[in-house]
Amino acid sequence: MPNLILHVVSKFLIPLIIIFALYVQFHGDFGPGGGFQAGVIFSAAIILYAMVFGLDAAEKIIPPYLLRILASLGVVIYAGVGVASLLLGGNYLDYSVLASTQIAGQHLGILLVELGVGITVSAVMLIIYFTFAGRGRE
């Protein structure tokens, strides 16, 4: 029997959790926050969905093959920023050369790197959860 209170409350909470994750992600330049925390908060929203609505429904939103691509995409973004700064004449992960001014370059660089960290962390947390939770099915 579906639990009505759980369904209604989690449908109300999940968008808020995702918005908070995005806030933590993109406010990481100016205050406490960043990719690690935001990725975990984001995956907590999906894990809540999986616990309330079932694992199959959650895997319909983010299929496991997509999670594996996302987990490596984050690493590619992180390393790609470093290689891009190498190609632009700086050191590896030297953000200053990424844009026309040094401050703009630092902003862009840390934003992209934290985005990569966030994508990888949320994807890996979901892979860990789905792997453990999916063991009972076979």
């Binding site: 100016f30 205050g31 406490p32 960043g34 690690f36 962390v121 947390m125 860990i128 453990f132 063991r135």
Partner: protein, 118 residues
């Protein structure tokens, strides 16, 4: 008195550390052992963060009218340690799942009864 009240954060750390250690030693259930290990780990995180925090210290971001900043290096170290902790917990849980499949139990004394080579 100042030893207890002035440094209460360190007493919290010691309490959590001993709770974790006692749980690891006294419980035979492997999942409970992992929970104890995690509590122990959190106490070490708190110890490092406490040491680097200043009273009235702001986040280490340059701003007008702020002179005192907390040292960000231990926080970053602990951020990495938290991520490593998640990975080791996942590995430990995977080992427990495998032990459960092999022996049919996660109680330590029952595993010892089944396998005399341990």
């Amino acid at each position: 008195m100042d030893l207890f009240l002035g440094h209460y954060n360190y007493w919290v750390v010691i309490f959590l550390m001993m709770v974790g250690l006692y749980t690891v030693i006294s419980r035979g259930n492997l999942v409970k052992k992992i929970i104890g290990l995690n509590i122990f780990q959190v106490s070490v995180f708190l110890l490092y963060i406490n040491m680097s925090t200043l009273e009235d210290g702001a986040a280490p971001i340059i701003a007008e009218g702020v002179a005192l900043y907390s040292n960000p290096l231990p926080h970053v170290l602990i951020l990495t340690a938290i991520v490593v902790g998640v990975a080791t917990t996942a590995l430990a849980l995977a080992l427990v799942v495998r032990i459960k499949e092999a022996y049919g139990t996660i109680e330590e004394d029952e595993i010892h009864k089944q396998d005399h080579s341990l």
